[in-house]
């Protein structure tokens, strides 16, 4: 069971976002970067599948500037066998289709049964790249996977939809996007961290992969402006000394002032 795990290296979810000087990207100066949390579930499932089958490899790939290598190294420490870094140095914003195209180019020539993505990349929050990659690769996909059973040449995946699960049988190779609840990602062991230093990271240049969208004039979506969300009005506090009165006042405000109940 060979898996390719596609990771995004994103600002930590606890990071405070500041707008950059260009007004259309974030100020990266104090940002701590992490592997996007949903990608960790994908990696864990790929590792578990390799262990369950007793054979195969787990390859991780990322598109990004130099720092993305730190994310790949972390995945190697957790147990991935090898890594591919698509060097996008100098590309300020690659849209989802461009990212999918770069990953598809990087995957071409490999032999993979499963392609793992997070159900969304924390940050851009688009949930686009996995299914787009599947389309470009001509393989099926199952999005938002909560549970996976391995079969022979196929998998059965439980996919989260509103208030229910779809149970999907899918032939391999396939793209799967991981949802929280799929598994508990393992931590890197000290041994794993030492071993990761010796594992290979292959390098490819984005500029050489024929990704039209890397040229801003060819991008299919672009950010024109980035702003902090509009400030909310100051809170109206209801005194708590008499709970019954506080409850009544809240209900009154919601009914008469906010008109939402």
């Amino acid at each position: 069971m060979n898996s390719l795990v596609c990771i995004a290296y994103v600002p930590d979810t606890e990071t405070k976002i500041k707008i950059g000087a260009d007004g259309k990207s974030i100020d990266e100066s104090d940002v701590k970067w992490i592997v996007s949390p949903y990608d960790e579930y994908g990696l864990e499932e790929a590792l578990k599948s390799r262990e369950a089958k007793g054979a195969g490899t787990v390859t991780v790939v990322a598109v990004g500037p130099e720092r993305a290598k730190a994310g790949l190294r972390e995945c190697l420490a957790r147990g991935a066998d090898e890594a591919i870094w698509v060097d996008a140095t100098g590309v300020s914003h690659l849209d989802a289709l461009g990212t999918a195209r770069a990953l598809a180019a990087a995957a071409t020539g490999g032999s993979y049964d499963m392609f793992w993505f997070g159900q969304k990349g924390v940050g851009y929050d688009e949930s686009l790249v996995g299914p787009m990659f599947a389309e470009l690769m001509g393989v099926p996909h199952v999005g938002s996977v909560l549970k996976l059973e391995l079969g022979e040449g196929k998998v059965t995946a439980h996919r989260e939809i509103e208030g229910a699960h779809e149970v999907v049988e899918c032939t391999l190779p396939a793209v799967l996007t991981a949802q929280k609840g799929l598994n508990e990602p393992r931590y890197a062991s000290l041994k794993g961290i030492m071993a990761a230093k010796k594992k290979p990271i292959a390098e490819k240049k984005l500029a050489e992969l024929g990704v039209a969208e890397a040229d801003p004039a060819q991008a299919k979506t672009r950010w024109r402006k980035l702003e902090l969300p509009p400030a909310r009005q100051a809170v109206k506090l209801v005194p708590a000394d008499d709970p019954a009165a506080a409850g009544k006042e809240l209900a009154r405000l919601l009914r008469e002032e906010a008109k939402v109940i």
């Binding site: 600002p11 979810t13 606890e14 405070k16 976002i17 259309k24 974030i26 949903y38 849209d95 989802a96 999918a100 940050g123 929050d125 688009e126 686009l128 790249v129 299914p131 787009m132 599947a134 389309e135 470009l136 099926p140 996909h141 999005g143 439980h158 939809i161 208030g163 229910a164 779809e166 149970v167 999907v168 899918c170 032939t171 004039a217 060819q218 991008a219 299919k220 979506t221 672009r222 950010w223 024109r224 980035l226 902090l228 969300p229 809170v235 506090l237 209801v238 005194p239 709970p243 019954a244 506080a246 409850g247 009544k248 809240l250 209900a251 009154r252 919601l254 906010a258 939402v260 109940i261």
Partner: protein, 322 residues
């Protein structure tokens, strides 16, 4: 400017989020728009789309579309797009819409303005605001050089307007080839105690660490039921195992925009605020006056939730009974 809107139905009922997208398309185009409706037994549903702005409904009504398949449903959308040659395609950002949009877009060599909360036209170009970093910032986005513009609209944000007396739409059947999807939905499993999902709810009542343990849920549940709301939770209580992750609201849970969000005993970590900060009205009940949740709240009570919430629930029931 030609629009095509993807209409989602489940169990013979058209999703409200799709009607929101349809109304939006009509508003932007200034007249009736085209819609596509895949499923089984859906032809009868096509008529009601006229009131929401459909001029023509392309119907793919087949037995093998009874359950969702990406191949079948994207195939129907693509077939309709071939007939309409739209400038813009709108799809509600539901679980299905998020599955359909990226594959349809990639097939047509374009990308998607995903999960937008505002959409307008500049000439014949779509310009959208969408939350990024889970709502910690917002980006104004457009489709760059793309000829075909695709956007998914966040549910509950746009209004599904109905015009009474609108003419019935023309209904046209789509001819699709064999589908035989490689990713095939075998069945849909609905939990026995079917709970309203936070991503679909107009009102959400959430609990955090302040409920002190899983035994604190009944207090929150009482208010949830009084309001007819969905039950949400902070990451802290999900990670502590007090409730299933499907209830989690926040950057690594569901990102929601309900009309009313009630936070009980939630301090408001940046991670959580990111997931619910776009709610229209926020009520916070928390002991700690310094809790960050009060920075985003519309109404707040600094007090013991075990005292306040039951009284609040009682008052809500009384107000509703009036």
């Amino acid at each position: 400017m030609k629009f095509l809107v993807f209409i989602e139905q489940r169990d013979g009922k058209i999703r409200k989020a799709s009607l929101e997208a349809l109304s939006l398309a009509r508003k932007l185009s200034g007249g009736p728009v085209a819609a596509v409706l895949p499923g089984k037994g859906v032809t009868a549903l096509a008529k009601e789309l006229g009131r929401h702005g459909a001029g023509t409904v392309y119907v793919a009504d087949r037995d093998d579309l009874a359950l969702y398949s990406n191949k079948g449903y994207v195939g129907a959308l693509d077939a309709a797009a071939k007939k309409v040659s739209p400038d813009a395609v709108l799809i509600a950002a539901t679980a299905m819409g998020k599955d359909v949009a990226p594959r349809f877009a990639a097939r047509n060599d374009v990308s998607v303005l995903a999960d937008v909360m505002e959409l307008r036209l500049e000439g014949d170009r779509l310009v959208a605001w969408r939350p990024v970093y889970s709502g910690k910032a917002r980006a104004e986005v457009d489709c760059g050089s793309a000829k075909l513009q695709v956007a998914t609209t966040r549910p509950n944000v746009f209004v599904a307007e109905a015009a009474d007396g609108a003419p019935e739409p023309a209904v046209e059947a789509l001819e699709l080839g064999a589908i035989a999807p490689r990713a095939k939905v075998l069945r849909v499993e609905t939990p026995e105690s079917k709970e309203l999902d936070v991503s679909e709810a107009d009102i959400i009542v959430s609990g955090g660490r302040g409920i002190k343990g899983p035994e604190g849920w009944p207090v929150v549940r009482e208010l949830q039921q009084a309001l007819g709301a969905a039950l949400g939770a902070s990451r802290a209580v999900v990670d502590a195992g007090w409730i299933d992750h499907q209830h989690q609201v926040g950057q690594t849970g569901k990102v929601v925009s309900p009309t009313l969000y009630v936070a009980c005993g939630i301090s408001g970590a940046i991670q959580h605020l990111a997931g619910m900060g776009t709610s229209k009205v926020i009520v916070a009940i928390n002991k700690d006056p310094e809790a960050p949740i009060f920075k985003v709240a519309t109404y707040g009570v600094v007090g013991d939730l075990f005292q306040i919430v039951p009284e609040f629930a009682k008052a809500v029931r009384a107000a509703k009974a009036e």
